[in-house]
C-alpha cells in the first residue's frame, strides 16, 4: 500500500504539485493521467525520492519513505521510464540484474532470475542474454527495462510513461504484456501517462491531475461513464470521437 499524505512540491513559490492525498491499496495499478506539466511525473518521483517533496509525507506499507537511505528505498521499488536508461556498457543480463547485484545476490541465483525475467518479458534468453543495449530495438529495450524494474521482486513498481516513445504496435504489445505480468506477479503499481486509452486499458483506478491538483479518482468504468467535470469529459471525448471518426471513415470507404 502506498499513501501520499498532503504532499506538495514547489519550485520557487510555484506549486507544481499541490497538497495531494492519495491511497493506493495493495495490488492496485493506479494510473496518473493528465496533460504534460500537470505534476503527474513529479508526484510519481516523490514516491521513490527521485524528487524530494516540499511538504507532506509518503508511506509505503505504513513506513515513511524517508526512514531509510534513498538507495535502500529504491532497491525495493521498481522503476521504468520513457527514456529507458539501460547502461550501455553492460549486457542485457547485467542491466536486468543490476539491482540484484547491488543487493549482493549469489551469481547462480542472479542468472536464474534474469532468465526467468527474460522469459516473462518474452525475450529469448539464448538470443538476448549477452547482447548490449545498442543491439536492441526500441521495443526490446523497453522490455529489458521492464524486466529490470521487476528483478528484485519489488512490492511497488513505478512506470513513468514507459511506452510513450514506442510505435503503436509495440506499445499495444507491451500494454497487453503488462496486463499479463500483473496477473502472474503481484505488485502495487503507479503508472503515469497522458494517453486516455492506455489509462482505461491498464488502470485499476485512474487519477486525473490538472495544474498540480487531483481532479477525479475512480475506476475506468466510472470515469468513462460519469466524468466529474468538463475537463475530464473533454479527456474522455477525444478517444471516443476518434473511434467514431475512424468508423465513419472506414464505412464511407467501404460504401
Amino acid at each position: 500500500m502506498i499513501e501520499l499524505k498532503n504532499i506538495t512540491k514547489a519550485y520557487g513559490g510555484i506549486k507544481v504539485v499541490n497538497s495531494i492525498d492519495l491511497t493506493i491499496p495493495e495490488g492496485e495499478l493506479l494510473v496518473l493521467l493528465g496533460e504534460s506539466g500537470c505534476g503527474k511525473t513529479t508526484t510519481l518521483k516523490m514516491i521513490n525520492r527521485l524528487i524530494q517533496p516540499s511538504s507532506g509525507e509518503v508511506k509505503i506499507d505504513g513506513r515513511n519513505n524517508t526512514d531509510m537511505p534513498p538507495y535502500e528505498l529504491r532497491r525495493e521499488i521498481g522503476y521504468c521510464f520513457q527514456k529507458i536508461g539501460l547502461f550501455p556498457h553492460m549486457t542485457v543480463a547485467d542491466n536486468i540484474a543490476i539491482t540484484l547485484q547491488l543487493l549482493n545476490w549469489e551469481r547462480s541465483k542472479k542468472k536464474e532470475r534474469v532468465i526467468e525475467l527474460l522469459e516473462l518479458t518474452e525475450l529469448d534468453p539464448k538470443v538476448f542474454y549477452h547482447r548490449y543495449p545498442k543491439e536492441l530495438s526500441g521495443g526490446q529495450a523497453q522490455r529489458v527495462a521492464v524486466a529490470r524494474a521487476l528483478s528484485a521482486r519489488p512490492k511497488v513498481i513505478l512506470f513513468d510513461e514507459p511506452f510513450g516513445k514506442l510505435d503503436p504496435l509495440n506499445r499495444s504489445h507491451l500494454q497487453k504484456e503488462i496486463i499479463k505480468i500483473k496477473e502472474k506477479v503481484s505488485f502495487t503499481g503507479v503508472f503515469v501517462t497522458h494517453d486516455m486509452m492506455e489509462a482505461l486499458l491498464l488502470g485499476t483506478r485512474i487519477a486525473i491531475m490538472k495544474e498540480g491538483s487531483l481532479i477525479q479518482i475512480d475506476t475506468p468504468k466510472n470515469i468513462f461513464n460519469s466524468p466529474k467535470d468538463d475537463y475530464v469529459a473533454s479527456l474522455i471525448r477525444a478517444p471516443k470521437e476518434q473511434m467514431k471518426q475512424l468508423e465513419a471513415t472506414l464505412q464511407g470507404r467501404n460504401g
Partner: protein, 518 residues
C-alpha cells in the same frame, strides 16, 4: 660517438622518467579533483579557472619561477623544521610539469562527467545505487573516453615541456637542444627534438591502444599495457629512490650557464678534476644564470664559473656607476667569501664583458672609436643586442653617462648578433669580449672612456662544502689562476662556434697547450 650515445641515452631516460612521474602525480591529483568539482558546482569555475591560469604561463617561466618559490619554502622549512630541500634540479621541474598536466585532465574529467546522459544518472539512482556506486559503475565508465583524451593531451604537453627542465637543473633532452643551439650543432638539436617527439608519439600511441583495448574489451592487450607501465614505473621509482638514498658523495657537480664559453670551461674543469683527483664529475649544463649562485650557496652544485660584474650587479644588486676594476674585484671577493662562505678558487685571467662593437670598416668610415663618438650619430644607427642587455645596469649607465640612443634596438639571439653586424643588418652590437667571432669578423670594440660598463673578471667559485671537505680540489683548481688570456678564450670559443669542434675537443686543446707551458 659511443660516449655521445651514452649521454643521449641517459638524457632520454631522465626525460622519460621526469615526464612519466609528473604525469602520474598529475593524473592522481586531477582525476579525484575533477570528480570532486563535478559534484561541487560552486568550486568548479574557480578550480578550472585557476588551472587555466597556470596553463597561460609560458612553460619556461613556470619552470623558472618554481626555483625561487621552492627556495623560499626551503628556507622557511629550514628555519622551522631544520629541513632543507633542493630548489634546483628535479623537484622544481617535477612541480612545474605536474601543474602543467593538471588542466587537460581536470577539464576533461569535468566535461566527461557533465556530458553523461541524464537518463543514465536517473536510471542509476532509480535502481538503488549509492553515490559511490553511481560514480564507479556509471559516471567514471561513461566519462572514461573523454578523460582518456585529457590524459593523452597532458602526455604530449608534458613530454614536450620537459625539454625546458634543463635551465632549472633537471637533465632532459633539452640539454642537447640548448647546447646544440648555442654551439650551432644542429644535428644535436635535431636529435634532441626527434627523441622528444618520438617519446611523445610513443606514449600517446600507447595510451590510445590502452583506450581502444578497453573499449573493445580486449583484456589481454589491456593487461599487457598496464603491466608494461607497472614495470616502467617500478623501475623509475626504484632507481629514483636509489639515487636519493645512496647519493654518490664523491661526485663533484659543476654548473654552467647556457653559452659556449661556459660549456668549454665546464669541460676543462671536469677533465682536470677527474685526472688529478679521485673525484667523479657531473656537469649540469645550461642552468639559468640567476640560479647558479643560489645553487652554489646551498651546496647543490660545487663549482661554477662566473664574472665579477655579474655578481656585482645581479647578486649584490649594486646600482649606479661601478668602482674601479680593482675595487670592484675586492668588493665582490669579500662579498662571496665573507658573506656567503664561498671561495674564489682562481681568477682565470680574462674578462668577458659587454662591449659595443662595429665592423672596423664602418667605424673608420664614420670616424667612431669610442662609445662617446656614437652620440654624433644618435638616432641614426641600429643596435643588435641580446635578451637582457636593455634591462641591465650597463645600458642604464651608458645612456646616462654618454647620452646616446639608437634609431632601433633589435633584440636577437646572441649567436646571431655577430653575423648581423657583419652583414650590415645592424650597425652596432653588444658583443661579449671573449667571443671568437669578434676576431673572425674583424670587429672594433668601442672604448668605454667613462667606465660605464663594470669589469667582468672571470672567477672560479667553490661551494663551502667543496673547499672545506675537498681540499684537493682547491689546490688543483688554483693552478688555473691567470691561465687563460682573452685571446686564448676567443680562440677556444671560435673553435666551437665556427669550426664545429665539440666543447670537449676545445677543452683538450687548451689543456694540452697548458701542459706545454713551463
Amino acid at each position: 660517438m659511443k660516449e655521445q650515445l651514452l649521454i643521449l641515452g641517459s638524457l632520454f631516460y631522465s626525460h622519460l622518467s621526469l615526464s612519466l612521474v609528473a604525469l602520474l602525480v598529475g593524473t592522481l591529483i586531477s582525476i579525484p579533483l575533477g570528480i570532486w568539482v563535478s559534484h561541487q558546482k560552486k568550486w568548479q569555475n574557480l578550480i578550472l579557472g585557476l588551472s587555466g591560469v597556470i596553463q597561460t604561463i609560458p612553460g619556461l617561466a613556470l619552470l623558472a619561477i618554481m626555483v625561487p618559490i621552492l627556495g623560499t619554502l626551503s628556507d622557511w622549512s629550514e628555519a622551522n623544521f631544520n629541513y632543507k630541500f633542493s630548489s634546483i634540479g628535479t623537484l622544481p621541474a617535477l612541480l612545474a610539469l605536474i601543474l602543467y598536466s593538471l588542466l587537460p585532465i581536470l577539464r576533461n574529467t569535468v566535461t566527461g562527467i557533465a556530458g553523461i546522459d541524464e537518463d543514465l544518472i536517473e536510471a542509476a539512482d532509480a535502481v538503488g545505487m549509492t553515490p559511490k556506486q553511481k560514480l564507479f559503475k556509471v559516471e567514471l565508465i561513461m566519462a572514461m573516453p573523454v578523460m582518456f583524451a585529457g590524459v593523452r593531451t597532458a602526455t604530449i604537453w608534458v613530454i614536450g615541456l620537459a625539454t625546458l627542465a634543463t635551465p632549472v637543473g633537471a637533465p632532459s633532452l633539452g640539454n642537447i637542444i640548448f647546447s646544440g643551439l648555442q654551439t650551432k650543432n644542429y644535428p644535436l638539436v635535431f636529435a634532441g627534438c626527434i627523441a622528444a617527439a618520438l617519446l611523445a608519439i610513443f606514449f600517446d600511441g600507447l595510451m590510445g591502444l590502452l583506450e581502444k583495448s578497453w573499449q573493445k574489451r580486449n583484456w589481454k592487450t589491456l593487461k599487457g599495457i598496464l603491466f608494461f607501465f607497472l614495470l616502467l614505473y617500478s623501475f623509475i621509482f626504484y632507481k629514483g629512490a636509489k639515487d636519493i638514498f645512496f647519493k654518490d658523495e664523491n661526485k663533484i657537480i659543476i654548473g654552467t650557464k647556457a653559452f659556449t664559453e661556459q660549456y668549454i670551461l665546464g669541460d676543462i674543469l671536469k677533465i682536470i678534476i677527474e685526472e688529478e683527483t679521485p673525484y667523479k664529475v657531473d656537469i649540469r649544463k645550461s642552468l639559468g644564470s640567476n640560479l647558479l649562485f643560489d645553487a652554489l650557496r646551498n651546496d647543490q652544485i660545487d663549482i661554477y664559473v662566473t664574472y665579477s660584474g655579474t655578481i656585482w650587479s645581479t647578486v649584490m644588486k649594486e646600482k649606479g656607476l661601478p668602482p674601479s676594476s680593482k675595487a670592484l674585484l675586492s668588493k665582490v671577493t669579500k662579498y662571496v667569501e665573507n658573506k656567503h662562505n664561498l671561495k674564489v678558487a682562481a681568477r682565470l685571467g680574462f674578462e668577458n664583458k659587454y662591449a659595443f662593437a662595429m665592423t672596423k670598416k664602418k667605424a673608420s668610415k664614420l670616424g667612431i672609436k669610442s662609445i662617446d663618438d656614437l652620440k654624433n650619430f644618435s638616432g641614426d644607427l641600429k643596435l643588435g643586442t641580446d635578451y637582457v642587455f636593455l634591462d641591465r645596469l650597463e645600458w642604464k649607465n651608458i645612456r646616462n653617462l654618454y647620452n646616446i640612443d639608437f634609431q632601433k634596438k633589435i633584440v636577437m639571439d646572441p649567436t646571431l648578433m655577430y653575423e648581423s653586424v657583419h652583414e650590415n643588418q645592424v650597425d652596432v652590437i653588444t658583443a661579449y669580449t671573449s667571443d671568437g667571432r669578434i676576431k673572425k669578423y674583424d670587429l672594433l670594440i668601442l672604448e668605454d672612456d667613462k667606465k660605464a660598463i663594470p669589469p667582468y673578471h672571470t672567477m672560479l667559485l667553490l661551494s663551502k662544502r667543496a673547499f672545506t671537505k675537498r681540499p684537493m680540489l682547491l689546490k688543483e683548481l688554483k693552478r688555473l689562476n691567470q691561465s687563460i688570456s682573452l685571446e686564448t678564450m676567443q680562440d677556444l670559443n671560435f673553435l666551437v662556434d665556427e669550426k664545429g669542434k665539440s666543447t670537449k675537443e676545445a677543452a683538450k686543446t687548451f689543456l694540452s697547450n697548458l701542459k706545454k707551458r713551463p
